[in-house]
Symmetry: C3
Subunit: 462 residues, 3 copies
């Protein structure tokens, strides 16, 4: 299989071509926005040089951006290191496809979110949005983890980012709905896109790599680094692009409470579904995060800590039950091999989040929000606002997202099936050695290994 999976030409060629195209497009299309441009930001200044600098969007958004950035690169990257021999690929390919996706997303989102005299304007908000779109690709990566070459992953990212931007445009700009934390745009989309891709790429003989499709003690600890960072910074994720002031503050807090309640549900059900009452690292690593997903839409609304905790508790519960009872069925009946169980962490909780968002939007009223209503729901100012239709549009958005994700994943899956990307053979899935120079064992272990095997050899030869 060495030739068929050799990346020596495929990967460099694709990376260099993609980056050259990106650079050309950035050179042609991308400009500093008003807050990053030296001339524009200082245009209306008087002699007082530092006046208003604190109003630069940088100071409102950059700390949130860095938290999101940590989630994308450390959170997602390390969460997937749970496999015993796939740590390099988990962190490394996560790194590669995220670095590509955020550039490509800047262009695609800039194009759909509205050009300024034919140009894309960039600043910290576009950086956050690009990271968000990247998150969606990384969710899909979780479904195909261990079964794809880096070239396949980059190709997947090209298509997924594009469709993400289209879906986001339909939801936010055409339907005008709310989804600040991306229950639909990021999680539902990324999950069902990835599930469809892995369905199309179904491997009947994946059992040949079964012995590597599990964790070891230290790999589970590395994965917990990813989990904990995702958990801690999810309040920043959901609030990163909400309006300044109370919406940002409220979203962060609702997410905090949702996650706390979700964690207790996760531990409860993880012990409950195990015959010996033992906790399962898979649940703790994943289901405890479902609370963040599930308040991604409603978190900026007046959900209250009470509401957030109920949603979080439900999300953790369905996520654990999904890992225990649904994932095996998806694999055996529907031929969906979902390595990380993204259906349980992003799929179902994303749908739950969309429903909760629709209900919470339908219940909104000026009695509760006061003058803050227009700061959460954009169409209040245009006078077109109506809570029931708002709720309805939120629900329609879920259907659109599911449709786009499944259709997009289907097409992309078939493209990825072409035998030109150096995909791993069934016998070498979940194995770093295929695409990475893997170092030998530690000195002590090596000696030990030699002793033990030489014993064996001697016995065999005697």
């Amino acid at each position: 299989h060495t030739d068929s999976t050799n990346m020596r030409l495929r990967l460099p060629l694709l990376c260099i071509i993609l980056e050259v195209i990106l650079i050309i497009l950035f050179g042609t299309l991308v400009e500093y926005n008003d807050d990053t441009h030296a001339m524009l930001w200082n245009e209306n200044r008087t002699d007082s040089a530092t006046r208003n600098d604190h109003e630069n969007e940088f100071y409102y958004r950059y700390p949130s951006f860095q938290d999101v950035h940590v989630m994308i690169f450390v959170g997602f990257g390390f969460l997937m290191t749970f496999l015993q021999r796939y740590g390099f690929s988990s962190v490394g390919f996560n790194f590669l496809i995220a670095a590509f996706s955020l550039q490509w997303a800047t262009l695609m989102q800039g194009f759909f979110h509205g050009l300024h005299h034919g140009k894309i304007h960039v600043g910290v908000t576009s950086m956050i949005n690009a990271d968000f779109c990247t998150g969606s690709v990384l969710i899909s990566f979780g479904a195909v983890l261990g079964k794809t070459s880096p070239v396949q992953l980059l190709v997947m990212a090209i298509f997924e980012v594009t469709l993400f931007a289209v879906n986001e445009f339909i939801l936010l700009s055409i339907l005008g709905i709310n989804d600040a934390g991306g229950s639909m745009t990021i999680h539902t989309f990324g999950a069902y896109f990835g599930l469809m891709v892995t369905r199309v790429l179904y491997r009947p003989n994946l059992d040949k790599s079964k012995h590597r499709n599990s964790s070891v003690y230290h790999s589970d600890l590395f994965a917990m680094i990813g989990t904990i960072y995702l958990w801690m910074f999810w309040p920043s994720f959901n609030s990163a692009i909400t309006n300044y002031g109370d919406p940002q503050h409220r979203t962060a807090m609702n997410t905090y409470y949702s996650l706390a309640a979700c964690t207790l549900a996760t531990f409860a059900f993880s012990a409950l579904v195990n015959p010996e009452g033992k906790l399962d690292m898979v649940h703790i690593q994943n289901a405890a995060l479902a609370g963040g997903v599930a308040v991604g839409t409603a978190g900026e609304m007046m959900l209250t800590a009470f509401g957030a905790m109920i949603v979080g508790f439900l999300a953790g519960t369905i996520s654990v039950l999904g890992y225990k009872y649904l994932t095996p069925v998806l694999e055996s009946k529907l031929k969906i091999q979902d390595t990380c169980g993204i259906h349980n962490l992003h799929g179902m909780p994303g749908v739950l989040g969309a429903v909760v968002g629709a209900v919470t939007a339908a219940l909104a009223s000026p009695d509760v929000y006061g003058h803050g209503l227009q700061r959460v729901f954009a169409d209040v100012e245009t006078g077109k606002w109506n809570p029931q239709s708002r709720g309805g549009f939120q629900a329609i958005s879920l259907a659109v997202t599911l449709g786009m994700a499944l259709f997009g994943g289907l097409i992309t899956g078939f493209i990825l099936k072409l035998p030109i990307y150096g995909a791993p053979p069934d016998t070498h899935c979940f194995e770093d050695g295929l695409y990475w120079e893997v170092p030998g064992e530690e000195e002590g272990h090596q000696e030990l290994y030699e002793v033990a095997t030489s014993n064996e050899v001697e016995k065999l030869s005697s």
Copy 2:
């Protein structure tokens, strides 16, 4: 022992009951505060939609909150992974009891810190305070690490959070003292509470698990992740709830210098107390942090970098000496089995911090603080301020805290001694396998292990 430690019913039942109670209480009692409520925050707005948004407390406190959050979940969680076979429990139980405690603390602190028309108001400051209270529980966790079931830990958290809130109320609201970084309220309280609990839970036969009560190479590296994050973000911890402006800025800086000096002391004394001059990871992982604890009270005052460095240097010194000379005595003479040595990291440095705080408060004067005096010492505005009595109240607070902690730990310890919580037997302390599904060894090691043991079996049978 499998039945007696089975968590299948105990843990789910307790988690679900607790979370349901929390949700009901949050639904009844908790409301958005002025900075998180859509109507209240936008009440007095004029047409200019973004006016004053930068004055929302979110922008002053949220970056500090996130740093504190990292300390609670990554810092404490990974610091305790040093044990060779207790990494899942260290990070996992830390995660569980922190997620519970922060919810329970929001209610308890909200109740004692003052209700608003019968309601608890929440926002980023209450989130920080809840994380602080959680920190205290996690400190106590360090004393009983490896010797308690998750059910015991949750029960401990219920009582400790409650008593923490009472003690904090006495100190901050009745005595009106300063303790922004919690030398007394968090560290002294958490340490002596935990030490008393572990005293009551004394296990004469803990030696049976002695071979697991130590680190291995990689577990020490995981623990260093915890240490370094605690060390880096301690300036945010101590400054998180001080007044805006100079107090927050000054506190962060004093803590930064205290920790730097403490680190040099730690390395110096770690080498000095070792016959071969070798550094001990236990000291580096723990004592280097004592400088943060010891400026938890005085850090917001005009301690100066000079003062902070002296305090940090002393804290590092007594902490290393404590690990070397005091911990063994506490165990052999006082029957206090302190797994993480919290007496050296939080106990003695906390007391030192209280004393330094009392002295620094007694030395305060308008000559040094100017108009800033009332921004550090709350009772200046009421005209009741007097530096000597301030210092006195600070000292009294230490005594109150020690009393509350020891008494509370005693009661809680006896409650935890009831044989209903599934505590580990003496032979299975410091062992993840009791409460967790632990994965097998890596493929290579597994084979190796089989080869080696089959060799042995063959020899035995020949």
Copy 3:
């Protein structure tokens, strides 16, 4: 060798003497600045107690400071844990010399940056600058990693910090150039200083420790923690001390794009230079960061995302090629044993960054920058500004930096060669056991080891 490398007296003595000197100097020379001093900050307040608090530099700079702090302690510390038996030393000595350097740098930089009535004023900006200077020492540490005692490292830090401050003074204060992210002052200086030190300390018999001068599977994952944190927070590093508003915002964004492009170049060339097309962890861990180094000077200018991506792509490319083709030559021909390959990560990309900075500065004009020109280039206000001479001064600064670094490294190298510091013998380089209490193996492995070796012993004796 045990006696000759015993740290029992050397290390404590040096640490304590240094810290006592630091404390005395801080007591004599250091004062709170206007933003940290209780009296000065509140001097001109009216009755409204919180007026203007958001203008305290703390809120503009502290989030960036914390990101830089993470880079220094987690980023550099864990990046160097890639060696199989040097993790304790990598993180631990990084911790020690950083804690010392930041204190010493505060004094040296305070002295050269300008005293206030004979006093050094400190606040968050001085903390960032001290961390920056520390970064330079840690870069040099990378060159001598595994071959030096902690005493040698502290002595190196004493000299390097001092020379750093002199060089920085010449560049920023005398030549008046721009170097916000330190392509020259931090990276070029640190790299060539360290390379010269390791040249002077050349060990012809280092091959004796060759078997430990490599990674193992888990050590490479620990190193990736360092890499990813450096990568994520580099935008904060480069923007931490630029002017408020657009320069800070723009610098962060340019760095973000440079790093993304650099990452694709790194993966491309890492696969390309490997006969089997396999990716090399050494490249991913290091070269992917070169994009941050290379926009350290020009990042705050109107480089554009387009320009940043070109620079990042070039930096990644030369860095990978350097690891593959230049490092072996440097060792064999020039006798430069560069453990971490700092020449490829900091040396060449730093020089590239200086050149890019000179060109970008020479191309600056009011047509592009508008009123923002004076906020990037300090001498615009004095009327002395001239783009060509600006570019020229930038280029001269590179030459000065290289000269200072090489000369300083030469002197320091000879000082470090004295046989009094307990340096490791050639046979015990890259080995934690020399300076640390290293724990035994895990229970399972230990038994296994005993079984395997007892088998061997029996065979040998039979």
